[in-house]
């Protein structure tokens, strides 16, 4: 199908996840409606093979939306101000306010547009996670979402190229001309080949799958990171743009990371490797010492901080210990717990010093005060005089059998990215916007996210900013 060595498209989209498809679909719509040009002048370059298309979006399940009244897919209301306050809280008040406000304002129209593209949602009142007020859940999750988007793209006549690895981008003085792609024997292309375009949208994700780059940022600790999502986000387009004079934003260490089971595969383990038992037990490092408040907040608000907490421990390892009282109260994970009848035995099986762990548990048990255990609220079960404290859901570990899970940091995506303006144009180091280069999704999430994460905002960033980038690029290509 793609034979010519110098094809020209109106809009070239690098990436194949949520942001890329939202951008491509909107660019197609805009070209067709506003300018009477066929949507077929848009091309999506997905680096992964078809089976693994969709980047990290494959592993997602919801997006966060502001809304004023209950809808078919969201309960109650979630005001723009509340959304903004939630965002500020996890980011220690650092964000680009105008972009964040734009994101939140436009999040209100997401589900309606998505439905028009064929995306289906779960009904609001049911579901495993208690997030139906703030987050709309895709029926079947992110891969089903991506299937809907790819089907919509096909209906619109948008070209999609799989196994399409961009190796370099021709951007001079803020003007994009072409991308160069890896040779591909399957298509009979034996040399690097070039694809020209009038506008470029970068929606190629962060660099979380690039272990060498992670190591630059984290040192040897990066060897112990698990990459929760796609192995294809190596950040080649991000690096190419930074080298071509795009202005970076965010810290190379900034990322969304959670605690995952240490037995998870290096890449692509997705949702099933996460552990929800942390608020129900205690977490110790490999020396058998506690290092953080396991009960600080409700889990959906707190889960995203544990990746970094574990990353700072020796060997990037930690262990979550629970007892039989709570064994049925958390989501099962894919790996079985390590089980023992006594704490020292459990410590031994997990490879920790038995004496230290027993001491830690004994000290913790002594510090637990009376209270009424209730997982649905910030209850009054807490420790007294212990450092670090456990401020909620603190119960003694005293009912065998005891369960242990090994934890490692699981990186979801990185925040170092490209600075953009409100039309998603990529900014140069000189502080002016490039002519025809746009960015959306993880590759520019750092504009809004600096430190923490709130569930579902990654998909909001991809959807809202993808749509804006698609529209802007289509106008530029006119």
């Amino acid at each position: 199908m793609i034979e010519s060595e110098a094809l020209e498209y109106d809009v070239v989209v690098v990436g194949g996840g949520n942001a890329a498809l939202c951008a491509a679909l909107t660019a197609g719509e805009t070209l067709r409606q506003a300018h009477g040009r066929p949507a077929g002048r848009v091309i999506v370059l997905e680096r992964a093979p078809r089976e693994f298309r969709g980047g990290n979006s494959r592993h997602t399940r919801n997006l966060r939306c502001a809304h004023d009244a209950p809808t078919a897919v969201l309960t109650g209301s979630y005001s723009e101000d509340e959304f903004y306050a939630d965002l500020l809280r996890v980011n220690a008040n650092e964000t680009d306010e105008s972009l964040a406000r734009l994101l939140i304002c436009r999040s209100k129209t997401c589900t309606e547009w998505m439905s028009r593209c064929g995306v289906r949602f779960q009904s609001a009142l049911r579901g495993t996670l208690h997030l139906s007020r703030t987050n709309a859940f895709f029926l079947g999750g992110g891969k089903a979402l991506m299937n809907s988007y790819y089907a919509a793209a096909e209906r619109m006549g948008i070209d999609v190229l799989y196994d399409a690895e961009v190796v370099s981008i021709d951007v001079r003085d803020g003007v994009f001309r072409s991308v160069r792609l890896q040779p591909d024997d399957r298509r009979g292309v034996r040399d690097h080949w070039e694809l020209r375009g009038k506008a470029l949208i970068l929606a190629s994700g962060g660099f979380e799958s690039n272990l060498a780059w992670l190591k630059d940022a984290w040192g040897d600790a990066a060897d112990n990171f698990i990459v929760r999502g796609t192995p294809y986000n190596t950040g080649t387009p991000l690096r190419a743009m930074l080298d071509a004079g795009a202005q970076p934003i965010g810290d190379p260490r900034g990322c969304h990371a959670i605690a995952v089971d240490a037995r998870a595969p290096k890449f692509d383990g997705g949702i099933v490797t996460r552990l929800d038992c942390i608020p129900l037990g205690i977490v110790v490092n490999r020396h058998g010492e506690r290092f953080a408040d396991e009960g600080e907040d409700l889990w959906p608000k707190r889960y995203a901080s544990w990746g970094m907490l574990v990353a700072r421990q020796p060997g990037q390892l930690a262990y979550c210990l629970v007892d039989a009282k709570v064994a049925d109260l958390f989501m099962p994970s894919v790996f079985p717990p390590i089980v023992a009848d006594t704490i020292p035995e459990l410590a031994q099986r997990l490879g920790m010093p038995a004496g230290r762990v027993s001491e830690t548990v004994a000290r913790f048990n002594d510090a637990v005060g009376p209270g009424t255990f209730n997982l649905d609220t910030l209850d009054d079960c807490r420790t007294h005089g212990l450092t670090p404290e456990k401020s909620h859901w603190a119960q003694r570990l005293d009912t065998p059998p005891y369960w242990g899970y090994p934890l490692k940091p699981g990186i979801t995506f990185t925040y170092l990215g490209l600075r953009v303006d409100e039309t998603m144009r990529v900014m140069t180091t000189g502080g002016r916007p490039m002519d025809n280069v746009y960015a959306a999704g993880e590759i520019m999430a750092g504009n809004v996210l600096r430190r923490g994460y709130i569930a579902g905002i990654g998909m909001t960033i991809g959807t809202v900013f993808g749509r804006i980038a698609g529209e802007s690029a289509a106008r530029a290509a006119r």
Binding site: R61, G270, V272
Partner: protein
């Protein structure tokens, strides 16, 4: 896959699913799964038969092959269903039929029975054209033979279902319900399974029809199942009414075109023809990844026998006053007998086990 491996693989699949739960609003399998933490043979038997093979969860799965976890729920549960059919077959030794049964054995059985009828028939070239079937095969022979075979089939099927329910049904009591499982909506818990069965709700449970391939949703599979199911019921009603006419009122066949048995039988027959033929075509167009291809023979045998039974039955109705009638009759009777004999050891059982699973899940 050997039995131990299949159970182990099934448990692996359900463990991954239970840690993910993205598919929980597609169908009743996932809510039922969420009530469990471990997956033994009986749990898997129950979940497998709750699955209607709608296919959505394969395309939605982030762990589907070629992912290293290799999760294909529709295919795995289909394989487990085949094992369940064998395990609960009565007599147990005939369970093996589920793996040997195919189009050829089905047709061979029909041909053999037809030949036996032909040999045993009193008169294959009657002089009169009254359409009197009993002049060809005596009334007593028909009633006794079909009565006994049918009784056997009913007993065999009932034993299988009762054993299935008693083994798997007890499981739903005393399950951990740590999290509130998201129930697929039910209106009136007693009526719900009946409604789900009669409307085949789980072939369109998520608001759209089930898939034949990625993003290909069509209502055909549901409609053709309805044609087959209701067609079967109408034919069954026709036979029942005819039996009452015969045994209670002494009204002997053949019956009028406008008579109740003929009207019921004809409309049911049209449904069965359309249903069996349509399902045959449809299953060849479905993504093979969704099904267990070792069971193709089971499907084909059942569909072929349904189709041939109906075709010969309708032909008999139209041509009952023609000289060909006796030959048609022996082929029809032979095919019906083959269908009856294979009911407890063929694809027919999927409907019974699925219905039972829906009642257990209630």
């Amino acid at each position: 896959m050997p039995l131990a491996d299949l159970t182990q693989h099934g448990a692996h699949v359900m463990t991954v699913c239970n840690a993910c739960r993205y598919c929980e609003q597609y169908c009743p399998v996932f809510p039922a799964m969420e009530e469990r933490r471990t997956f033994g043979k009986a749990d898997l038997a129950f979940l497998a038969n709750l699955c209607h093979n709608c296919g959505e969860c394969l395309y939605a799965c982030q762990y589907a092959p070629p992912h290293e976890f290799g999760i294909n729920v529709p295919n795995t549960l289909a394989q487990i269903r085949l094992q369940v059919y064998q395990d609960y077959a009565w007599p147990r030794v005939l369970g093996v039929a589920f793996t040997r049964h195919n189009l050829l054995t089905g047709l061979a059985l029909a041909a053999t029975f037809s030949a036996i009828f032909a040999v045993a028939a009193q008169n294959l070239s009657p002089t009169d054209r009254s359409g009197n079937f009993y002049a060809v095969v005596p009334h007593g022979v028909m009633v006794t033979l079909f009565g006994l075979i049918f009784l056997f089939a009913v007993v065999a099927m009932a034993v299988g279902v009762v054993r299935f329910v008693s083994h798997t049904g007890g499981l739903t009591r005393g399950l951990t319900r740590g999290q509130t499982p998201p129930q697929i909506e039910t209106s009136g818990r007693t009526a719900a399974p009946f409604r789900d069965i009669l409307t085949l709700r789980h072939l369109h449970a998520s608001g759209a029809d089930c898939v034949s391939g990625e993003e290909q949703r069509t209502p055909w599979r549901r409609w053709l199942h309805h044609c087959t199911f209701y067609g079967f019921l109408l034919c069954f009603a026709s036979t029942t009414v005819a039996a009452i006419y015969d045994n209670v009122f002494g009204w002997r066949a053949p019956y009028d075109y406008a008579s109740l048995p003929v009207v019921l039988g004809t409309s049911g027959g049209v449904g069965l023809l359309a249903g069996s033929l349509g399902l045959w075509i449809l299953r060849r167009r479905r993504d093979p990844a969704l099904t267990d291809q070792t069971q193709d023979g089971l499907d084909e045998s059942f569909l072929a026998l349904l189709f041939l039974t109906t075709l010969t039955g309708l032909a008999l109705l139209v041509l009952r006053h023609e000289p060909v009638m006796p030959w048609l009759l022996v082929v029809h009777l032979g095919t019906v007998l083959a269908l009856f004999v294979t009911l407890p050891y063929g694809k027919f059982m999927h409907g019974l086990y699925r219905a039972a699973a829906l009642f257990i899940a209630r």
